[in-house]
Symmetry: C2
Subunit: 210 residues, 2 copies
């Protein structure tokens, strides 16, 4: 076989991701991508038939990587603790740890896409939806188990509380950019964790004081 094209392909995707995070894919020209990758137009169009295909390939790869993180993170917290609530709290801790020190401008490709109609094809939307849902499903299941053990302090829609995990991330990315303060991401996730803890804190039973 002739030389390996997958290297070039990966480099194109990496360059595109960086540019998309920085300035949005819609505002990024192919010439920029090509320049950043260090190739030529011919090479680019050999690997991708157009910009749109690049876009959905990129989001697909993003979703795959997200899936990997999901698998390892959930597996890890499930070995770290046997208690479902603790597992969720630990997951938050891991999430905060991940964003403790990220020098680069943090953000989410999916969020970037959904504010740029051109790229937001139904296809891309579904890829994102699937990627997001698996996290929410896992957390929801854990919270329901936790609720069985001891009910939440107030009646609450646990599906929403589970989905809030990603809401926090997506929202925190935006605030981090607006405040120019990347550490807000970790702090928000930790605040979410603390509120979860409060929600499931067993009501002080009416025994006499300790």
């Amino acid at each position: 076989m002739p030389r390996d094209g997958t290297i070039t392909r990966t480099r194109i995707l990496d360059a595109t991701l960086a540019l998309a995070m920085e300035k949005g894919l819609a505002a990024t020209s192919l010439d920029e991508i090509i320049a950043k990758t260090g190739i030529t137009k011919g090479a680019f169009f050999y690997h991708f038939k157009n910009k749109n295909e690049l876009a959905i390939t990129l989001v697909r790869r993003f979703a795959e990587q997200d899936h990997e993180i999901y698998k390892t993170a959930t597996a890890r917290v499930e070995t770290l603790s046997r208690d479902p609530l603790q597992q969720v709290l630990l997951l938050c801790g891991l999430g905060a740890e991940l964003f403790k020190e990220v020098p680069e401008n943090p953000g989410c490709l999916m969020a970037s896409y959904c504010y740029q109609g051109d790229l937001w094809s139904e296809e891309a939307r579904q890829v994102c939806e699937v990627a997001l849902k698996e996290w929410a499903d896992w957390i929801e299941a854990k919270l329901k188990q936790a609720a069985k053990k001891n009910p939440p302090a107030v009646p609450v829609d646990l599906r929403q509380v589970a989905e809030m995990f990603q809401v926090i991330f997506e929202g925190a990315f935006i605030l981090a950019r607006t405040y120019n303060q990347p550490d807000i991401i970790a702090r928000q996730v930790l605040a979410y964790r603390d509120m979860l803890e409060a929600l499931f804190k067993p009501a002080a039973k009416p025994r006499r004081s300790r």
Copy 2:
């Protein structure tokens, strides 16, 4: 004096806002804006010296409107209840109400901007930062008052909890688009409210069960 130009100016801004929400301002050409407004290039460049000036004018107007909402909403909840925690909870209720039935594709111009580097000038960033901060400041103050009355169920950074209000909105916008399910915004805000309530729920005092 000739006919009133502010009408045209406003129509340009309205059209631009709609297009920016739908597909992002970076991906929107002046020709589209002109077509949607129903004017010509000449008229556009009479009112705005370039696209960038349009962008920051738009975000400025957005921030002003946000400020108005802030003022009326906080004033309203402060008359509805005297208790600081209740005021915050009510504010969430109002927020949820606002997004109960919004037919159009909901979103935030600031979020849109910060994923499109071209528009994300330092100037625009500061406008957004100020707009966001006033909400967080108000909520934080209220929560601190509430905490004085009775401490939160777990130790928690109240500044983060306050900022979470907007984190929820920004994040929910993105999930609403990804899930193609606009009602997620209201439901998320309500879930946040419920978690706040749990956080400040007075620990069941060790009296005998009534």
